[in-house]
């Protein structure tokens, strides 16, 4: 009984709003430069994609470098996504419902890529705290209160000291778990903690997973505005 009371007091020390605030601080980016790999597994098949990119405010540019996708570019300008196809030297705009399509056959949708501040849509409560694979975590259950979130309910396993989730479970309104994200590494960048290696599984697809590993990450650096224009894509 004493243990339960002690645990309850401990949980109450931090509120869910505080954790959400800390989560948003960690994910909110002024500017970013990165190099990464994306490993897509479909059953026995494995694809490895390499890319680098820049982000500033709500915009980003990603350039693929692996041989199969060399010079394919993704440009996000506010709510629109533009894809540059080097073979035809032309651009396709993806918007609206099309953003629900899979990104290059991965477990990510274009919409997953487009979220600027995903935790801003949610409010919720701390269910409990526990130890997840050696990391002390708060278990948070968040529900979309704005009607704008891509996933109605989210269950987060947030690191108690770094305020970055080690695990995320994403649910539909009907309660069906559709995606699961698991972090393998979290690194510190100044005051910020950021997930540098994670795997996402779309549970609607059998034997499918996508692992993204950042090889280089730089935050709050100077990036020219001209990087984020349609004209840049043709260069």
């Amino acid at each position: 009984m004493i243990k339960i009371i002690f645990l309850a007091l401990l949980i109450q020390q931090v509120s869910s709003d505080f954790i959400i605030k800390k989560l948003r601080e960690n994910t909110k980016i002024e500017s970013i430069k990165f190099e990464a790999t994306m490993e897509i597994k479909k059953g026995k098949k494995r694809l490895l994609k390499e890319f680098y990119g820049y982000g500033k405010g709500n915009n980003f540019l990603i350039v693929f470098t692996n041989p199969e996708d060399r010079d394919v570019k993704y440009l996000k300008l506010e709510k629109d996504l533009y894809i540059y196809l080097p073979d035809i030297d032309d651009v396709v705009r993806i918007s609206g419902d099309m953003l629900k399509q899979s990104l290059m056959g991965s477990d990510l949708s274009y919409k997953d890529l487009m979220e600027d501040d995903p935790f801003s849509y949610y409010s919720g409560k701390i269910i409990s705290d526990t130890v997840l694979e050696g990391h002390g975590v708060y278990i948070l259950e968040l529900v979309d209160t704005t009607g704008k979130a891509q996933y109605y309910r989210v269950k987060l396993f947030v690191d108690k000291t770094k305020y970055v989730p080690w695990k995320e479970e994403l649910f539909t309104k009907s309660g069906r778990k559709i995606k699961e994200i698991k972090a393998f590494a979290i690194a510190r960048f100044g005051e910020r903690y950021y997930t540098t290696d994670f795997i996402i599984k779309d549970l609607r697809m059998r034997n499918s997973s996508t692992r993204i590993t950042y090889k280089k990450l730089e935050f709050d650096i100077k990036i020219p505005e001209s990087f984020f224009s349609k004209e840049t894509l043709y260069k």
């Binding site: 098949k45 196809l85 705009r93 099309m98 399509q101 056959g105």
Partner: protein
């Protein structure tokens, strides 16, 4: 027989009404059968021609994931299999296809599309593209043919250029720019909404494959040969063959259910027609009690009365049955020329149901309905005729 014939002519109005009810019954039997068969066969034919052939050969993994139309499970060298298939005398046509999903874009609008890449020469008889065209040409060598609803949502016309964006067989992303050759009505809402047809040549360039195809469709002389041929194919270990019914999934269940359901409705209609004939014939006898009494009073024997009424019923059955069945056949033929268009009802359905149903004109049904009406009217004349046979002149005159 002569007297029975005279009797029919003597009371023209009564004979006409009796024959008319028999005519309506046999007409309904023929017309309904033609419609139901037209619907079932039309749906089956559309699925076979547009989707599966009588049989589809593909990689086992592709067939397992066929609903996602994977582009990384292609048959890399289809030629040896095609040559082998053409040696079977049951095989009428073998044609390779690549099916995949893509994003199709014009200006700032992008839509998802279901792409079918074909060999335009080989597919002339299966897809009948020329008759499906609304605008433009059927030239797939230089461009695309787009379903009419998709064309309308992208506001495109022949001559406009589209960008197709797809995953390649190597897992990369690629695009191709092609002009629109034509806009077509594929006769099914599912296809008109998101269907784009292109040549194998262009699809291979987009998907970055040399000779790859996702499916080899086999069209047979007769549907009944599917099972026999499947057992003799001896395909490589990584390939499999599936009949169109095996590939239809949920729709196969619907199709089987529809066959049973319409069969049941048909039996019900035949039952109702039979009841109508029996009723008409019985009423015809009871209306003529006075006549029976008089005939017996002037010396006609019981057997002669029985024969007379039986013969009259059969003759009326033959007359009504023949003309009713003939009218049913003419009606079905008339409707089959242009077909019955259900486009406004079906344009939002996801099932691959054809918009236009052409009733099937079948001479066997004409014979069936005619003989059925003849037999039923003959049999249904027996009971009233037996009743008439038993009556004495006094009894009949008392009942008037």
């Amino acid at each position: 027989m002569k007297m029975a014939f005279k009797n029919i002519l003597r009371n023209k109005r009564r004979s006409f009404l009796t024959a008319l009810s028999l005519l309506v019954a046999s007409f309904v039997v023929v017309a309904l059968y033609s419609y139901v068969q037209g619907f079932l066969n039309g749906t089956k034919e559309a699925v076979i021609n547009l989707e599966t052939g009588h049989m589809t050969i593909a990689r086992t993994e592709y067939l397992r994931k066929r609903v996602f139309l994977p582009v990384d499970e292609l048959i890399e060298d289809p030629s040896p299999i095609i040559h082998k298939l053409l040696k079977f005398k049951e095989v009428k046509l073998v044609t390779p296809r690549i099916k995949f999903t893509a994003l199709i874009s014009r200006d700032n609008t992008t839509k998802p599309a279901y792409i079918m890449a074909i060999d335009p020469e080989k597919e002339k008889s299966t897809l009948n593209i020329r008759n499906r065209l609304i605008k433009g040409s059927e030239n797939l060598e230089s461009g695309l043919i787009v379903g009419k609803d998709l064309a309308s949502s992208l506001k495109i016309n022949p001559g406009d250029t589209l960008i197709l964006l797809s995953r390649t067989t190597l897992g990369g992303l690629n695009g191709i720019k092609l002009p629109v050759s034509g806009v077509a009505n594929f006769g099914m809402s599912k296809l008109n909404r998101n269907f784009v047809m292109m040549s194998l040549k262009h699809a291979r360039k987009l998907l970055k494959t040399n000779e790859g195809v996702s499916e080899i469709l086999v069209f047979l002389q007769h549907e009944k040969q599917i099972h026999k041929l499947k057992t003799r194919l001896n395909l490589p270990a990584d390939l499999d063959a599936k009949s169109y019914m095996e590939l239809l999934g949920t729709f196969a269940i619907y199709f089987k259910f529809a066959t049973i359901f319409y069969g049941f409705i048909y039996i019900l209609i035949i039952g109702l027609a039979t009841f109508a004939i029996i009723n008409t014939m019985t009423v015809a006898v009871f209306e003529r009690l006075k006549e029976i009494g008089t005939l017996k009073a002037i010396g006609m024997t019981d057997n002669e009365v029985f024969m007379l009424f039986g013969m009259e019923g059969t003759m009326l059955g033959a007359l009504g049955g023949f003309f009713g069945s003939l009218l049913g056949l003419i009606f079905a033929y008339g409707l089959s020329i242009k077909g019955i268009n259900f486009e406004s009802l079906l344009e939002n359905t996801a099932f691959p149901l054809p918009y236009v149903i052409r009733p099937e004109v079948n001479f066997k049904v004409f014979l069936f309905a005619f003989i059925l009406t003849l037999i039923i009217s003959a049999l249904s004349s027996v009971f009233p005729a037996l009743y008439a046979r038993k009556l004495t002149p006094q009894e009949t005159l008392r009942q008037i």
